[in-house]
Subunit: 308 residues, 2 copies
């Protein structure tokens, strides 16, 4: 309420979170503050997970570099990745689409063909949405996933001594955005949500906390640590071929899973071909403080209200 | 796939509906084609209803005429009204917001204050969302509602001889948009979703079909009739003071409920002060054919892909 023009996403989110706290006994078991909201249907064996992600022309993509299928795939992947981060299985999606003057029927057909096929590949049905038009193209993809009651992986379960892991190799998406070519560009264009890995983390490794790397390792690890009321000490993250340390530490749109397990948990070196690398440990320090080789790490991930 | 530049919403929706048909046994009991999608959680006593509505600057509102609170209230009302049309009770909402350069922190605060308070007044918690930015302001509001298993009011249950009713008085929103003043403008600005009425229709009147009047009586009645495989014969609809017959028949953004009941159902003249008026009868004629005083009525409601 201070009238400043610049405010960051965390300030807005924290304010909303306090305002919109679900009342005691609400079927909304978790509201704002995790990868997904959790809803507990009356009498059901499942909890339902809900996430929604906007994909906006000029902000998330350029029509010169992204085909209709690229836009659909990535818009969907972002939300599916949030379901993966909580160990859920996708069930259905809703898509709201704001068409621009330049979006031809052919473009829209390709967009929806890819979206329906992509959702189906993740086990989700396109169950509804809204069609509108405006000055720019935008779409909002809401995904519902299911998880056995009370079993969703949360951000807040990491404790001192828990080991921090990340899947895959980081920095490729940022490198691709910079270079616009090669495998890094493909990586930027076509992220692969880690749905099967999320289920594995929940069922087999009993991960204590998880989040997907959507805005950068440093920012997403900070979020996990803030929710867990702890800090983290990390070393080198696994790097995508050609990516700088800076890109691996702070680059967004990776959609790998960052998770913690109790000390001594036998984490395999890879799951279905995706490396799982230990990068550090949860420590007792001020909540959200990240140390990299012992030195406080500045958090530089992407913020829509700071970086514009 | 024909490459024409103009295509209407119904063509797009019908194509998607065929592509995205939920497989047999899917927990998605109803997908594209009604006011909400219906999801049946494993073992639950409730079905869950899902709807999503985009609200776009320049298309749904102008920042010169709409304050932050107006935008929030109307964006929310549109989705809540879809829950009402199926006889549901709102549970939670998700809000994706694309901020424009002109949206100050103060504007955003007012938007969210109104949205959280409005959702709460309908019994819904703001459970999550997404924050982004772009060239224009847009928001997408997803609402989840609950209804006892198998009891959702659908569009497709109207049969020959069923009586057609509408709540309230029509044409006020269109009149308000035209005149920009008085009670009609207030009506345009602050529609009132008929949640309690929807529950009454489902529980007490056992309505056979229902839809909310969001795009105009003629278009929404056509939708109800198409789903029901029948036609309709109507007379004069109840008119908002000062509204023309044209506005009452075709004006959108009313958010009144249009519903059918079995012949002889004792429908009260009003519910909680809202008039319930019989406007016609379901007849055996080609699906979707609407007759007004015996003459085929052209369908003129708003279509985002025809009217731009």
């Amino acid at each position: 309420m201070d009238g400043r023009r610049v405010r960051d996403e965390r300030t807005i989110t924290e304010r909303l979170r306090k305002m919109a706290l679900p009342p005691a006994g609400s079927p909304v078991v978790a509201g704002i503050g995790d990868d997904c909201a959790i809803y507990r249907p009356r009498g059901s064996a499942d909890d339902l997970l809900f996430t929604t992600d906007l994909f906006v022309e000029g902000t998330h993509f350029l029509r010169e570099t992204h085909q209709a299928a690229d836009v659909a795939r990535k818009a969907l992947a972002r939300s599916i990745s949030d379901i993966a981060a909580m160990g859920g299985t996708p069930r259905f999606c809703l898509v709201s689409l704001c068409a621009a003057k330049w979006t031809t029927p052919r473009w829209l057909d390709r967009f929806f063909d890819t979206l329906v096929a992509g959702a189906s590949a993740w086990g989700a049905v396109l169950a509804g949405g809204d069609l509108s038009h405006g000055e720019i193209f935008a779409c909002d993809v809401t995904v519902c996933g299911a998880v056995p009651r009370g079993k969703a992986l949360r951000r807040g379960g990491a404790r001192r001594g828990h080991e921090i892991y990340v899947s895959g190799a980081l920095g490729g998406s940022a490198l691709g955005l910079e270079s616009g070519k090669g495998k890094a560009w493909q990586r930027h264009l076509h992220p692969e949500p880690r749905v099967a890995l999320g289920v594995f983390l929940r069922e087999k490794l009993r991960a204590t906390a998880a989040i997907d790397v959507s805005d950068g390792l440093s920012l997403d690890l900070e979020r996990l640590c803030l929710e867990s009321g702890a800090g983290a000490e990390i070393g080198e993250p696994p790097r995508f071929r050609g990516a700088s340390l800076e890109q691996a530490l702070h680059g967004g749109e990776e959609y790998e899973l960052l998770f913690t397990v109790r000390a001594g948990t036998p984490v395999p070196a890879a799951f279905q071909g995706i490396p799982l690398t230990r990068i550090g440990t949860i420590i007792n320090s001020p909540a959200g403080e990240i140390r990299h080789h012992g030195v406080p790490l500045p958090v530089k991930g992407y913020d829509h209200f700071r970086n514009r």
